[in-house]
């Protein structure tokens, strides 16, 4: 089945084309977050301007005509309302014009599922770490097949925490990778560490590190905030792995691009002789291919939605989305 997937939950407008699980195209254009971050309405405007071009470039890359498409998928949530709506409208327009079936996809499910495929996993624990989300996930079949949230952040996502801190010490974007670069030269300063079972919280750490801005060396602050937050994620993840007797761990989401985090998680898995894996960075950043990948399977299983039911949900929790 030739399926197009449209992703627009945050500052990326991405379009992917998939056929029989194989990615034919994965194109994107991004809103420049500058030094101010994401302003929802501005991002949505940019997405509207870019949408046609990205869709066309995906079709060109895949070497197909739009009329050859057999199905449509889009990100229903979670994400930023005005941004989500741009992708939703684009997808619905294509579906309506070409009389195609359409599937609303949960963004987090898409990250997890493409990682599962890329890592060759059977039944892994998934650590999903991005700007807005930080969750430890595992598929369960009751009462329907979905990702159960074993643990998650009590306040902010680890990505947003690192970004907010980076702005506090006046770093330029991309914040996460700039923090990582400075961290390489840093020494450790003790910082608050908050893990409660398999859950964790980052706002205390953010406040503490931000208050030290200008009083301690940036390198040391970056090193300490990164080591502390990643250690928290690792501890909670390790506990989840052991509690569920899992043998596989996959990490996904924007923060999964961090080499240090991957190194630490690999160390956790090595201690227990577990399998560890992740998707290519292209799939850890927001992208349309993962949406198309999940949409194709949903459409094949007959779980399309009538157009009037194709809404967007800013807080579409992963445990509410059925997985096929």
């Amino acid at each position: 089945m030739l399926v197009i997937g449209i992703e627009s939950s945050a500052h990326t407008f991405g379009v992917g084309i998939v056929s029989d699980g194989k990615v034919l195209a994965n194109e994107k254009m991004m809103y420049d977050v500058g030094t101010h971050g994401i302003i929802p309405v501005k991002v949505a405007e940019t997405h509207i301007k870019n949408s046609a071009a990205v869709i066309q470039s995906a079709l060109d890359k895949a070497g197909i005509k739009i009329s050859e498409l057999e199905g449509v998928g889009y990100t229903k949530g979670p994400g930023i309302g005005p941004c989500l709506q741009v992708g939703q409208i684009a997808a619905k327009t294509i579906a309506k014009r070409l009389k195609l079936k359409i599937a609303p996809v949960n963004h987090a499910v898409a990250h997890a599922e493409i990682t599962k495929r890329e890592g060759g996993f059977k039944d892994p624990i998934i650590l999903y770490v991005s700007g807005g989300n930080s969750q430890i996930l595992k598929i369960t079949d009751k009462p329907f097949r979905h990702y159960h949230i074993l643990g998650e952040t009590f306040d902010i996502g680890v990505g947003n925490m690192l970004d907010a801190f980076a702005r506090e010490i006046k770093l330029k974007p991309a914040w996460g990778s700039t923090v990582a670069k400075l961290a390489m030269e840093g020494k450790y300063i003790e910082m608050p560490y908050t893990v409660k079972g398999m859950d964790f919280a980052f706002s205390g750490l953010l406040t503490y590190a931000s208050e030290l801005a200008g009083k301690a060396k940036n390198e040391d602050l970056c090193y300490s905030i990164q080591e502390t937050s990643f250690a928290m994620l690792c501890e909670a993840t390790e506990r989840a792995l052991l509690l569920t007797n899992s043998r596989e761990l996959g990490v996904c989401g924007g923060v999964a691009q961090s080499n240090r985090l991957k190194e630490m998680l690999a160390s956790v898995c090595k201690e227990h002789r577990m399998k560890f894996g992740f998707a290519r960075n292209e799939y850890n950043a927001d992208n349309g291919a993962m949406i198309a990948f999940v949409a194709e399977r949903m459409l094949e299983k007959g779980s399309h939605q009538p157009l009037e039911k194709c809404d967007v949900q800013q807080r579409y929790r992963i445990d509410r989305a059925m997985v096929y």
Binding site: L84, V312, R317
Partner: protein, 195 residues
């Protein structure tokens, strides 16, 4: 010493102390985190755990007796039985678990990792183990989190039985249950639909 189990942050060995079968819980070094974080966490948690275990045992009795404390190691009495998470064909009195938790909370002992992996079931009832993430605090939030962890881990009906016994036993349980409802209502649990 024989390795009994390996947890996320410690290894538990079976040993014997004064001829009685005992358990040694060693917080081993974790290679994934830097030495400074690792050492501090292991030291402070070992100390905290000892304090909380003693207090919890005093008020509810359903906690292994502490026999000795090292820098990274706790020695305690061995409780025979099955972990609640592995219990299959055995009746479990969830009301009793709720009552035990209430007694601990009444004395301001918060467990911090109150899941079926940290409860042992045997003929004499339910025993609470692994105070590794515990704290002594009157924080309503932390007490509510103990309930939340169990609520997420077990069947809804079983949890309801546990919660009702908990609220009967604890004087200010309404505060805790209200906070639990609050936590569940916090932003990320709400679902709103845009057209």
């Amino acid at each position: 010493m024989r390795l009994l189990s390996e947890g996320a942050e410690s290894r538990v060995f079976v040993t014997s102390i004064f001829g009685k079968s005992a358990v040694a819980k060693l917080r081993h070094a974790k290679a994934y985190r830097i030495e400074q974080i690792d050492g501090t966490l292991r030291k402070t948690r070992t100390k905290k755990e000892a304090r909380a275990m003693n207090k919890a045992r005093e008020v509810c009795g359903r906690v292994p007796a502490l026999l000795g404390v090292g820098k990274f190691t706790l020695y305690m009495e061995k409780i025979e039985g099955t972990l609640l998470k592995d219990v299959k064909n055995q009746r479990v009195d969830y009301g009793e678990i709720g009552k035990t938790l209430a007694k601990m909370h009444d004395a301001d002992v918060v467990h911090g990792d109150f899941t079926p992996a940290n409860i042992i079931i045997n003929k004499s009832g339910a025993w609470i183990i692994d105070f590794g993430l515990s704290d002594i605090t009157d924080s309503i939030e932390d007490k509510a989190l103990d309930l939340l962890l169990m609520k997420r881990s077990i069947d809804r009906k079983l949890y309801a039985g546990m919660e009702s016994a908990y609220s009967k036993e604890l004087k200010n349980s309404k505060l805790v249950l209200d906070r639990l409802a609050d936590i569940e209502k916090r932003g990320r649990y709400q679902v709103r639909s845009l057209a």
